[in-house]
């Protein structure tokens, strides 16, 4: 066992409402090793994003806390870079300038040449050097998300936090980006926490899948270690019995153990099923 890298201890959070405090999370405990790829999966509204935002420092836990390399997380910072769901590129800056803004914060006062090289290096990691002078509005959704990842990587984060990074993309683009993320993770070895709705995505990318129970007072339900050799190939894994076993376990957790009863969420569940069905088709292709 490696030394403690990222530790969530007894994390809980309450949000004030007119009817009194609403407990969104309760007793979330998680130990993450350096270089591990963790997926958070669970139904909508179960507090996955809240966990991520607490690790990012964008939200402060009411109870418990997060420790990264021996220091408590109290505010956001570039060592815990976030890839947002809607890419969140600044629309008035070119692709290059968007990444440069992040680089200028982390390499403050360094010579211009070094900054330029680092920006281009990170754009190269996500294969986006060709569009460096384009504005975000001029490139596709998948490309925007690539740039979002490049911006996060450029901060040289200890932990890369991804909030449903591919949720808004079509299935083919998503598969493409998943491969890119696996490639980058193999190359750089960052610790990654990723939120996802997609069971295939979680099994394909993760070292461990953290499955969350439904809210209110959501917490970690089960943790599933994925012991599949890397590099992983989506085509080869499609017929792999171990892979399908993992998938089945996650699906069982989501749709049997944590089945949502509220009628409002029936649509969401259906959408999720449709999503994973789409994923299967790609695997078969």
């Amino acid at each position: 066992m490696m030394s403690k890298h990222l530790e969530l201890t007894q994390v809980g959070i309450d949000f004030p409402t007119p009817k009194g405090a609403f407990t969104a999370l309760q007793e979330v405990n998680l130990r993450i090793n350096k270089g591990e790829f963790i997926s958070l999966i669970g139904h909508s509204g179960c507090g996955k994003s809240t966990v991520l935002n607490i690790v990012a420092g964008l939200l402060n836990a009411t109870r418990g806390g997060v420790i990264l390399d021996g220091a408590e997380v109290t505010q956001p910072g570039p060592e815990r870079a976030v890839v947002f769901q809607n890419h969140s590129l600044l629309p008035w800056l070119s692709v290059y300038k968007n990444v440069e803004l992040a680089v200028k914060q982390t390499l403050r006062g360094k010579p211009k040449k070094q900054i330029r090289e680092w920006v281009m290096h990170n754009l190269e990691l996500v294969h986006m050097t060709h569009a460096s002078d384009k504005l975000p509005a001029e490139i596709s959704g998948g490309m925007k998300q690539r740039v979002g990842i490049a911006r996060a990587l450029a901060m040289e984060p200890k932990v890369l936090l991804m909030d449903e990074p591919f949720g808004a993309l079509d299935a083919l683009t998503r598969a493409h980006l998943q491969d890119s993320v696996m490639e980058i993770h193999a190359q750089l070895g960052n610790t990654v926490i990723m939120i996802t709705h997609d069971v295939d995505e979680a099994v394909l990318l993760s070292d461990r899948i953290v499955m969350m129970t439904n809210g209110p007072a959501a917490t970690v339900g089960e943790v599933l270690p994925i012991e599949l050799a890397r590099p992983r190939d989506r085509l080869a894994l499609a017929d792999n019995p171990t892979y399908n076993h993992y998938r089945h376990q996650v699906l069982t957790f989501l749709y049997e153990k944590q089945k949502k009863i509220e009628p409002v969420n029936a649509k969401q569940t259906a959408a999720n099923k449709a999503c994973s069905a789409k994923g299967k088709k790609i695997d078969a292709a």
């Binding site: 990012a56 420092g57 964008l58 505010q75 956001p76 910072g77 570039p78 815990r80 870079a81 976030v82 947002f84 769901q85 809607n86 969140s88 600044l90 629309p91 008035w92 800056l93 803004l101 992040a102 914060q105 504005l135 509005a137 901060m155």
Partner: protein
Amino acid sequence: MSKSATPVLSISQTPSNPWIEKLTQRVPLLLLPVIGLVLFLAVWNGVAKNIDTSLGQFPGPAQVWEQAGALVDEHNQQRTKAEAFYARQEQRNAERVAQDPTYPAKIRPFTGAPTFFDQIWTSLYTVMVGFLVASLVAVPIGILCGLSRSSYTAINPLIQLFKPISPLAWLPLVTMVVSAVYVSDDPMFSKSFVTSAVTVSLCCLWPTLINTAVGVSNIDKDLLNVSRVLRLKPLTHLRKIVLPASIPMIFTGLRLSLGIGWMVLIAAEMLAQNPGLGKFVWDEFQNGSSASLARIMVAVLTIGAIGFVLDRLMLSLQRLVSWDKNSVLR
């Protein structure tokens, strides 16, 4: 191209020239405003003939056109007079200096009455000063209100209280305060100018302030989170995130403000006697000659045209500054 277009053309029986086609498509767009204008002139002409005032018949388009020409002529005459005046002075000075080399040459300014065009210029200058002062105050306060919930809560009641006040209500107060405070032996600006500009400022502060505050407070939360994750310094945050994100709303406010400022200015100039278009209208009204109403009508149309041009200028400026070149601005 022509091959694929042929069947369509044979059906519609239109000439195959694409230019003519384009023109025929545009014709309604060009023609409709002209029709509107002609109708307006006709109605104006008809109604004017039936209105008899103590200053004679209400002016129709023809009389107004005539007076517009007269105002241009007066302007030219006044310019010629001024040139002659300066030429005479220089000649006289040259003669005096020739007689007595120690004579200090003096040039006295021309003191003829300001012409219509001088008055347009004064109005533009006054409104711009008032508008600039208001913007310099409103944008920073608006940004502050947008950034901080508590300062918004503190300032909002004041905004709501002062926003609906008519310029005519402010004017007596402003006049008295300017007379009391703005005292100097060699004033850079006339008091009437300062009074008008301050009144304009007081009235066109609010749209900019409110729109800036709304623009800043509605910035996408994800963008603010990006700034927090990057730990941008407050000033960088303002420069890189807040200002560009709220530019469209700031400009919406500025355009509204300039429109209001221009309306307010005419009223302010009438009462403050600042020698601009407002004073022109007032003087013609007091003068009461048979041509007065037509001359006022010229001023009215000029005010409208200048207001329109000012708005278009602001729109072009907004297009120039805004990052979102695709957004429809109108």
